[in-house]
């Protein structure tokens, strides 16, 4: 599959934005600027970038507690994102949701979700809407390896398959459900094989190879758009950080430093950079230019968040009902 150069550059930029954003969040969280919990996406950027590259603004995604990458890749603006992380009134959710619950229905982002497996049925419902009312649109559901043990996974897959809904189930298999390794929570290695049980295609790709993800996702999305029904797309990847910021030593209680370092060598961004250099798609300087732009963009979002006011106390009573 030939990927247009422009798309490749875009993939690169998206991953850089995610990485730069998350690294800043890491520092801001440590310094107490961001309250609550922060689950960072560093190391998994290729999945969000690769999948979302083929989505139109009107397509839907559901996300997870580790949702910053998905939301950025789907086109979210960094300012309200960062403001939301700060709990500010200018955040995507007026500061009421925080890191785990960023949503922008206008951008097709049906919300990050704090409940493992919570997003799957919602994506099925979005797929139903597409089928009935918006032919050609699709819903993408991001979830983790651990959620694939949840009842909602199986029930949603079955439902989507039976009704040939345009849903792409994207399993980000990062090898851990919090502290529990994949080997401890399921006996299979490739979650994609579960697709067979529901009569839909199951594909496993290297989740750190953005081009591979892009290709597989594009195919699944196209199939869904054409009424071909759902696909289970498993992307094998790894989170560099702990389950959440503050998880001691990036999860050293349940995994080794060596393992982390091993995966850091497979950094999806460096990998694409090598490809870009090799194919002469971009120069080092161009890449650095993107980094510089993006870092400024992220810094701007921090300034925006810091300058924004907290919501007034009256806001606590708002939005309970529509």
């Amino acid at each position: 599959m030939e990927i247009p150069t422009e798309s490749v550059r875009e993939l690169y930029r998206t991953m850089v934005v995610i990485r730069a954003f998350e690294e800043k969040v890491q520092d801001l969280y440590a310094r107490g600027h961001i309250p609550g919990l922060a689950h960072l996406y560093i190391g998994e950027e290729a999945v969000a970038a690769g999948v979302c590259a083929s989505l139109e603004p009107k397509d839907y995604i559901t996300s997870t507690h580790r949702g910053h990458g998905h939301v950025i890749a789907k086109g979210a603006d960094l300012n309200p994102m960062m403001a939301e992380l700060y709990g500010k009134a200018t955040g995507y959710c007026k500061g009421k949701g925080g890191s785990m619950h960023i949503a922008d229905v206008d951008l097709g982002i049906l919300g990050a979700n704090g409940i493992a497996g919570g997003g799957l049925p919602i994506a099925v419902g979005a797929g139903l809407s597409c089928k009935l009312k918006h032919p050609g649109q699709v819903a993408v559901c991001f979830f983790g390896d651990a959620s694939s043990n949840n009842g909602t996974f199986h029930e949603s897959m079955n439902f989507a398959a039976v009704h040939r809904l345009p849903v792409i189930f994207v399993c980000e298999n990062n090898g851990y459900g919090i502290s529990v390794s994949q080997a401890q929570h399921q006996v299979i290695q490739d979650i994609a094989i579960r697709a067979a049980a529901y009569g839909m295609p199951g594909v496993t790709v290297d989740g750190n190879d953005v081009l591979a993800v892009y290709e597989a996702a594009a195919q699944a999305i196209e199939q869904a758009r054409d009424g071909g029904g759902p696909t289970l797309l498993e992307c094998k990847t790894y989170r560099w950080r702990g389950h959440h910021e503050g998880d001691p030593n990036q999860g050293a209680r349940y995994r080794t430093k060596e393992e982390i370092e091993q995966w850091q060598k497979k950094c999806p961004i460096s990998r694409l950079e090598k490809h870009l250099t090799k194919t002469k798609t971009m120069s080092k300087k161009q890449m650095q230019g993107i980094w510089d732009d993006v870092e400024k963009e992220v810094d701007d979002s921090i300034a925006f968040a810091e300058e924004s006011p907290f919501p007034p106390l009256s806001e606590i009573q708002q939005d309970v009902f529509a």
Partner: protein, 585 residues
């Protein structure tokens, strides 16, 4: 640029951490992401990564010291950069820890606070008390309520001070004070050329206006000093707790937990003699006249009638009082009426009692009032002004009484002993309830109403409220008259002492009058008193105090007064109840 190394947020429950080991020393180069130090929190150790590239400029928290999360534990500087000197090291013993970042302040937004709190504030009203009317009842009530801690609003559509200050007590007293020296001089034999003395009513009016204005400002100041919000507006009760204020430049609705109606009264019109504000007038216009009329007929020989008769008689008007009842100031002891009757006649006032005003005729020569006397005889009295002073009527309309459905007591608003109307929470005081249409009654009723509202129940004893008449001489009374006491079947002992037996009165040349005390023959309880004579309105105070303290006539008779003073008359009258007056033959 220096980068601070903090003890990071280590998960949701960790609040403190102890640094176990620094992997770098001061001066060592560090790289972003490289492990800098080991911290133990909650029995878990964590390696903390460098937040930036540079040189570890300073270690602020050495190993072995426990500090709160977010404490700055070290500083990274660029090559060659000095460590800013605003950091203080924390030692094992010392605790000069910079405090962790203050929790974010909520945005100040006053109205948001109440909605954020799920608990509803007990007071749902804008004000604790709203007072309608700024007369001596209303403003006194407002001040007392404010003194007791209530948030008060007062509405006055006209002038603060009400009838008393603007059209009653005070202006008449000002005018009376001006004419009194003339009366004194005329009735004295020692002055010569007294006939040439003249009074300028216009100047009197100016002085009166000044007095009224000064006192009005005083009331305003008192209300302000007591944080009472005064609205110059007409008030209307839309419900027991809702008031609409409509003024020249204001229209607003407020709510109040309690309301006091103090709308006062106005001169009572009589249909047979309609007033026109020019020829046939009420006391309101009489107090504004700049020229004394040549002939004045006053319909009504009550307090207002006799006081105005005194003023105008001394200003040179030929005054005739037409009184329907058999005697003037009929509410007073007959002896008081007789004494005042005599003194008014002495001033040249003609008094027709038992006569009914029939009709006014306006002719080229002026007015004439047809009257019918007790026996049915009719005649006409010529006049240049006719003053209708037959009493005052409560202001019971225009403020929402009808819609609220307040029960009435005749023309007045009905109240119970706590001054509360038939609608709970709505109180009424003063002339509009008509218990005794006097300024000091209104004030006391106002205070009693407020104290009941504020939870200190109290009632008024109307038997202990004095009546005062500012004629020459003055008259004052309190409690039961002799006749009323006897009518009640009480065994009474009456003590009476004339002014003329008193040294001060004689020396002053004010021998007219007496003090009369009505007491219970057995207990000696002071049932009432009536005084006619100079300073009667002040002298009654001693009797009031005795009554209020439930002293008996013996107590009052045992008071040692200065000599010579008029107060000796009171003492002697008290003694006389026991037949023990010293200076009485």
């Amino acid at each position: 640029m220096a980068v601070e190394i903090v003890l990071p947020m280590l998960g949701v429950t960790v609040e403190k951490g102890t640094i176990i080991e620094w992997f770098k020393s001061e001066g060592d180069p560090v790289k972003k992401g490289e492990s800098l130090y080991l911290v133990e929190a909650d029995k878990v150790t964590t390696e903390v990564e460098s937040p930036g590239d540079g040189i570890l400029g300073r270690i602020l928290v050495p190993a072995g010291v426990e500090v709160p999360v977010l404490t700055v534990v070290g500083v990274i500087v660029a090559q060659g950069e000095a460590v800013p000197n605003n950091y203080e090291a924390v030692t094992a013993a010392g605790t000069e820890t910079p405090p962790p970042a203050a929790p974010p302040e909520p945005e100040p937004e006053p109205d948001a606070v109440s909605s954020a709190t799920p608990h509803v504030d007990a007071s749902d009203y804008d004000y604790d008390l709203a007072v309608i009317g700024g007369g001596p009842g209303g403003y006194v009530a407002a001040i007392r309520a404010s003194q007791m801690g209530a948030k008060v609003i007062l509405a006055e559509k006209d002038k603060l001070g009400g009838t008393c200050l603007n059209r009653g007590c005070i202006p008449t007293k000002s005018l009376l004070a001006d004419v009194q020296p003339l009366h004194h001089i005329r009735s004295s034999e020692v002055y010569t050329g007294a006939g040439k003395l003249a009074l300028s009513l216009a100047k009197m009016q100016r002085r009166k206006d000044r007095v009224v204005a000064n006192m009005g400002g005083g009331v305003d100041g008192l209300l302000k000093a007591n944080q009472v919000r005064v609205v110059r507006a007409e008030a209307k009760l839309l419900g027991p707790n809702t008031l609409l204020f409509q003024g020249p430049d204001a229209k607003e609705t407020v709510s109040a937990a309690k309301v006091i109606i103090a709308t006062g009264s106005r001169p009572t019109p009589i249909s047979s003699v309609p007033t026109d504000g020019a020829d046939v007038i009420t006391s309101d216009e009489a107090l504004e006249l700049s020229k004394a009329p040549a002939r004045m007929v006053i319909i009504g020989g009550g307090v207002i009638g006799v006081e105005l008769a005194t003023i105008f008689a001394l200003l040179g008007s030929k005054v005739t009082i037409v009184e329907l009842l058999p005697r003037i100031v009929a509410s007073e002891d007959p002896e008081v009426s007789a004494e005042l009757h005599a003194s008014l006649e002495e001033m040249g006032v003609k008094i027709v009692t038992g006569a009914k005003a029939q009709k006014v005729k306006k002719g080229s020569k002026g007015l004439s009032l047809a009257i019918e006397d007790a026996l049915g005889g009719r005649r006409a009295i010529g006049a240049s002004k006719i003053l209708v002073a037959v009493g005052r009527s409560p202001n019971t309309e225009g403020w929402g009484r009808e819609d609220l459905g307040l029960r009435m007591d005749g023309p007045f608003v009905e109240v119970n002993a706590n001054m509360e109307t038939s609608v709970p929470g709505v109180y009424a005081i003063g002339d509009v309830v008509g218990k005794s249409m006097l300024a000091h009654t209104a004030s006391e009723e106002g205070i009693v109403a407020v104290e009941n509202i504020m939870g200190s129940p109290r009632q008024i004893d109307y038997q202990r409220i004095p009546n005062c008449i500012y004629t020459f001489p003055e008259a004052a009374s309190v409690g039961l008259s002799h006749a009323e006491a006897e009518r009640q079947g009480l065994k009474v002992a009456v003590g009476k002492f004339p002014y003329r037996f008193n040294g001060k009165a004689s020396a002053m040349g004010q021998e007219q009058g007496f003090v009369k005390i009505v007491s219970d023959a057995e207990l000696g309880e002071i049932l009432g008193a009536a005084i006619v004579g100079a300073h009667a309105t002040d002298l009654i105070a001693e009797v009031l105090l005795a009554m209020d303290l439930e002293a008996d006539v013996t107590d009052l008779g045992e008071v040692v007064n200065g000599h010579p003073t008029l107060s000796e008359i009171v003492k002697e009258a008290a003694l006389d109840c026991r037949g023990m007056a010293i200076h009485k033959p």
